[in-house]
Symmetry: C2
């Protein structure tokens, strides 16, 4: 165990794309857990589009990361010292640990995980927040009915791949929008999607006509921008749009591109609704159990993209915005 704790701190609010110079990599002493806390040796960090928003000033669903603070991150690791009865040394947990090698975290904010059942990275993806976001966003906000058509943007990402598979399990027709032939093949051949649109190779409106000739009942949007506008032109009556994210807009230095075609909501008596997964925390356990059952039966697969090197955190994060990740992006910071 190293004597020092490598940390990545936010030292400047990024303008547009994040830069290495917005962060400072430094060493700090390994913290002492206080009463009610445990000390975690971090194994893996979740890299999420939402992190870009946490760096901005202003009101959002969580407060921004303060200047000079360790960058906020979800992660998973092993308890190496415990000052709470809930966990003992050797237990594995997930929670908000920050971009660092060691974290002292209140025990009540942590969730137990079991790496003997699934790799740690899956607890940050399909079995973690992205999985919960997909599950509740689709079922509670999208409310798909059997036989309906569900379209997903960012479909090969951490959330999108789960949305599509859950929609298939609910008897829907599923079409994913993703970048590049490899991702599109993955959706249809590995995950059982009914169709895929490669937005880098095909006009999205044309792709929607091709794959969803009768229109779209549910759109699960991770991307925003032109893709949202394209789908708005293809809504069916009483369609539902779940707004999960707008990754195309997070690095804007100009104002966000609002959906020009939003009056399609009126024409089609449709609705567009935002979701934040934390609102469903009291139902996480039941959802995780159902998802684990599907995984055990081979009905719910997932792909993770693992990178290494905590010092390169900003560059790893930017892969998300460039569409360079293929599956849930995880930064592994400790050896197995």
């Amino acid at each position: 165990m190293s004597e020092q704790n490598t940390q990545v701190k936010l030292i400047k609010r990024p303008v547009g794309e994040v830069q290495n110079s917005d962060f400072e990599v430094g060493q700090a002493p390994i913290p002492e857990p206080r009463d009610g806390e445990v000390l975690i040796k971090v194994h893996s960090l979740s890299l999420d589009p939402a992190m870009r928003g946490w760096m901005n000033e202003g009101k959002s669903y969580v407060p921004p990361v303060g200047i000079g603070e360790v960058m906020r991150a979800l992660g998973a690791g092993q308890v190496i010292r415990s000052r709470d009865a809930k966990f003992k040394e050797g237990d594995w947990v997930s929670g908000i640990v920050g971009v660092q090698e060691y974290a002292a975290v209140p025990a009540k904010e942590l969730t137990p995980i079991d790496p003997s059942l699934a790799p740690v990275a899956k607890y940050l993806g399909v079995l973690g927040m992205p999985g919960m976001t997909a599950y509740f966003g689709l079922l509670e906000v999208g409310q798909p009915k059997e036989g309906e058509t569900v379209v997903i943007s960012g479909a090969a990402g951490a959330v999108g791949q789960v949305v599509g598979q859950v929609a298939k399990l609910k008897g829907c027709k599923v079409v994913g929008i993703a970048g590049g032939p490899e991702k599109c093949r993955f959706l249809t051949e590995e995950l059982g999607f009914d169709g895929a649109i490669d937005y880098k190779a095909e006009d999205v409106k044309a792709g929607l006509k091709r794959t969803c000739p009768d229109g779209v009942d549910v759109f699960f949007d991770n991307v925003g921008g032109d893709i949202l506008d394209a789908v708005l032109t293809r809504l069916r009556m009483h369609a539902r749009i779940a707004i999960c994210g707008a990754i195309s807009q997070y690095n804007n230095t100009t104002p966000v591109k609002g959906p020009s075609n939003y009056m399609s909501l009126l024409v089609n008596r449709a609705r567009m609704q935002g979701l934040v997964v934390f609102d469903y925390r009291h139902q996480y356990a039941a959802a995780a159990q159902e998802m684990a059952g599907w995984m055990a039966q081979g009905k719910l697969k997932s792909k993770e993209h693992i990178v290494r090197g905590i010092e390169q955190f900003p560059e790893h994060l930017m892969m998300l915005f460039r569409g360079e990740n293929f599956g849930k992006l995880v930064l592994q910071v400790a050896e197995d």
Copy 2:
């Protein structure tokens, strides 16, 4: 009774603001009603923002008016010949009559009205489609709860004035956005709104801070554009936006301005939903009865703005888009 039927036909699809040259005023013989139809002498026509959309090509909630056809319009008048058992000569009716002095219309598409109970113009406003739009848009889409804050754009218009008064009857705090001190005074002094924002004199965001310091639970939007964007910045958690119209955008020659701040829907777990009043047609009768009761008790007032001259139809219509009407805009085409 004149021997001729003055008609206004759409002869060109307008680009931007409607022009006189987009229409042709002409004379035609008074039509003969067919079996199942009645001949109506039109008394008044309803001038609605939606008319601008009906002139455009493309998919909407109703087909566009064809080139060379009489411009579509709701209106009211008296039956002067009947070939259906439902109505007899002398009955008063409302329905889609078109911009003309005489119309032959299927009896089953008409609603009986009673000018001895309320002036004809009110049957095109508070007791007609605008009233129904207000009632169902607020109650079914907005779903206001007692004590919540309801904000309305285009608040002094045909729909807005009814929305605000119904929201007050449901125990809400009500703020209207309108143009000019006279309209704002009307909202607070005549209709009992709790506050008003004069968008021509005050920054709307600042006005919302002033009048709704705790934020907005329900926004009933008739206007779109910058006003929608301003309200999006002031939503409360789980807010509902009813999209009834976007009058600021109907004459655009550039693309519609989509709401840049739509990610506020995510942050606030809010929803934005479109409505078309026709979907509630099976509940019109019950709603009209409740509204008539409120009117009889003096709890629901309305203001109409009556103009004359069917030949000047395009200029009258443009008053709506310039905010020059004060209350429901009605074009009276026959003498009382």
